[in-house]
Every structure is written in C-alpha cells, then in structure tokens.
C-alpha cells in the first residue's frame, strides 16, 4: 500500500474508531440513571432563601422509584436524590423521617454540624445534638474538595417512634419525625450528600447497597 493510501487508512481508523467511541460515550452518558431534580422552592417571605422538603423512608415504595419500588423495593431511601439549590442562598430544609432506627456506630454524628446556629429543630424543639442510641438516618453534606468554600453539614435524624398510620404512595408508614435546619450555600458546583448511619449490606462497613447507590441513601446537591 503506498503512502497516501496508508495515510488514508490511518485517518479513517482514527475517525471511525473515534466516532464509535464518541457514540458509545454519548450513549453511556445518557443512560446514566437520573432522578428528576427537586428544585429548592424560593421563599415568599425572605430574600435569598428557599425551601427544600425531603423524606426518608424504610423502603422504596414512596419517593421517586415508582409504584413497585423500583429495583430494590426493600431498600431504605430518601425521597429525592437530585437536589438543586441556588448559590449564595439560605436553604431551609425540612426532612420527614419515617424510618425506625438504632444506635449510631460512630457517635460523632449525633451532633448537628454546619447549620445556621449549629442547631436543628426536631418536632418543634431546637437542639444541637440527639440521643445517639435512637437515630434513624443522617443528612450529611460535603463540599467539593479543594474548590471554593468548604461546605460540611451533618444533621442526625432521630428514629420515628410514632404510631399513627400514614400512607404515601404504595407505602404504609407512621407519622414522621419532622427535622428542620438551614444552611448557606456558597459557590456553584455539585456537592455530595449521604446518610452516615450505615445499614446496607456487608458485615463490618455497612456502606454497601442502599448506602452507596444514588436514589437511596446517597445523592447530589447541585448549586447553580
């Protein structure tokens, strides 16, 4: 094969191969599972403030997994994993906690950290820490490492010991524990949050299964 023909084949190989890869890349990026975004609702009463309402459930029958609870109906879940809030804003978070609980494996997380005032309101009462033997989940948010403001928010969500029955979606629960707290966002970017009270798979580090899967006990907070 002469030089120009060889060059042609070389070019074709790169273009065809590169094209195939690019196509595969697009397919991969689009196929990556994505829950619908939960946008923080701008507050009517205060400037630069918005409200975010979440829930934590003992299974996946409520929330975004659809009627049958998706792939893992028995996994504990947050109602939404794809949170979107504006930059430089005070975010008021309300979490309805429907799940039972137990003793924290790492008592570090019984403290409320990183919120405005360092406190959270639980069923109307303002506290800065909870009983570590009676925790359901936590909401722990961490910032983009090494970029802009370090953001670290961690709020323990006490276990639900109410008895009054409540139905949401296909799930039957009891009246939730309501946890409210606020924090300020800074720079734009995608932050990661998850529950720090492990209860999924494995024996020792129980951070497998629901704990490490988006849509259950892990999610993102996009600040834009």
């Amino acid at each position: 094969m002469n030089r120009s023909k060889s060059l042609g084949v070389a070019l074709a190989s790169v273009l065809l191969g590169g094209g195939a890869l690019a196509l595969a890349g697009f397919a991969l990026a689009s196929a990556t599972p994505h829950q619908a975004a939960l946008n923080c609702v701008p507050s009517q009463s205060a400037a630069n403030t918005c409200n975010l309402n979440l829930s934590t459930f003992p299974d996946s029958l409520a929330g975004e997994h659809g009627k049958t609870g998706g792939d893992h109906p028995d996994w504990v879940s947050y109602s939404n994993d794809n949170l979107v809030v504006p930059a430089n804003t005070t975010v008021n978070v309300t979490i309805d906690q429907y799940d039972s609980g137990g003793s924290l494996n790492n008592a570090f997380f019984d403290q409320v950290m990183g919120t405005i005032g360092g406190v959270a309101t639980i069923d109307g009462k303002t506290v800065s820490s909870v009983d570590p033997t009676n925790v359901g989940h936590t909401f722990t948010l961490r910032g983009i490492p090494g970029s802009g403001k370090t953001l670290f928010v961690s709020v323990p969500l006490p276990a639900d010991s109410n008895t009054q029955a409540v139905t949401i979606g296909e799930g039957s629960y009891t009246k939730p524990v309501v946890v409210q707290f606020s924090f300020k966002t800074g720079a734009k970017g995608v932050y990661e949050w998850n529950c720090e009270f492990p209860c999924g798979g494995g024996r020792e580090g129980q951070f497998g299964q629901a704990m490490s899967t988006y849509g259950y006990m892990s999610g993102t907070l996009t600040v834009n």
Binding site: R142, P145, E192, E204, G205
Partner: protein
Amino acid sequence: MFWTWAVITVAGVLVGIYAPSRLMPRSMSDNMHLTILTMIVFTVAAAPVAAGVYAAALHALRHWTHKGDEVPAAGPAVRENATVVTTWLLVSTLLTVFLLIWGLGALAVDNGSTGKNPLVIDVTGQQWVWSFSYPGTHVQSDQLYLPVNREVEFRVTSEDVTHGFWIANMGVQVDANVGTITTIHTTPDKLGTFDIRCTQFCGLNHAFMVTEGHVLTSSQFTSWLASQPQRA
C-alpha cells in the same frame, strides 16, 4: 555522546534541584522538608544514569543506523565484555547502596519520635467523612486543628473499610484500618491551612472524603479548643 550526556545530566540536575519544592505542596512539617530533600537527592543521582541511557540511544540513532534499502551487513560480533559488565554492575550496586543508605537514614529520622510529649489526636475515617477527636478534652471536629511546633501523634482508625489518611503538605500518610489503630508522627512548623485527603479507594464518595486542616499558633489553638462544644 559525551556532550549529549553532559547536557542531559545538567538539565536533570537542575530539574532535580528546583522542581521538587515547586511541584509539590507547600511544606509545613519537618517530615515534608526531608521528603522534598530526598526527592532532590534522588533526582540528582538519577540524572546521570538516565542521561547515559538517552545519550547512548540518541548516539545509536544518529551514528549507527543503517542507511539504504538493502539488508544491512553484520555488525561486530561482540558477545562479551568482562570490563563493561563488571563496571556496570559495580556502579549500579554502589548507586543503589547510596540510595539505600540515604533512604534508611531518612526513614530513621522520620520514624523517631522526639519523645517530647506529643499532642495525641484520634483520627477516625468513616465512609466518607474524617473526624478528629482530642483525647483529654471532649472536643470532636470535622476539621483538624494543630498547634505549630508541637509534635503531634495521629492515632488513626476506621469504622468500616480501609481509608488512607494523608496530609500532603506534611508528608504523612497512613491507612485507617478497621479494628486496629495505626500511628504516625509529625511536627508542623508552618502556620496555615492544608487539605487532608483520603488515598485509599473507599467506595462511592472517595473523591469527596476531603477535609481541611489548620496550623495555629499555640494560643490560637488553645482558644479554639476552649471554644468548641463539649461532647460526651
């Protein structure tokens, strides 16, 4: 060939002397100063060796390649050269021994605790958060605070899987393992802020298992400790 070797060696030596401190994070501890010095020494020592290989290869490409289309004639049928092999073995052994002695020396300095009542800090890694606690006080924090010029002993453990506790500015790294405590010492000697990153792939948010550390003056550190909420 000699000049090619010389030029590459000089370039390598210059890179060795000037690059490490500029390419690596700002040194904030005694360990880190020694680590950077070791990088310099190793690079300077490696420069003539690498230069030798490159000079020989370049010389071969320039002077010993066959020109023309026909099959090349045979080269000199040299199978052995006792002098060359012996010299090579000797030089490479000496170089290795030198690097070894330097390394073992640096290791001894690194590992030696000064014994001077270090500040003990318990470091706990959990997927995917670092937490620090100061024994003797009831203070726990998600960021690390250290007083300058005081030796600190980190006692590191994990709640779930193996994490890597790493302070890049101080040249300290040790794994956080479940069910056991690993220890590492350093003495911070510069004020400022630094990052602590996890270096052992630990699941979903491994890349986000980062937190900040701060080296404060003695009095600032004491004030900080006093201002922290007391935990049970």
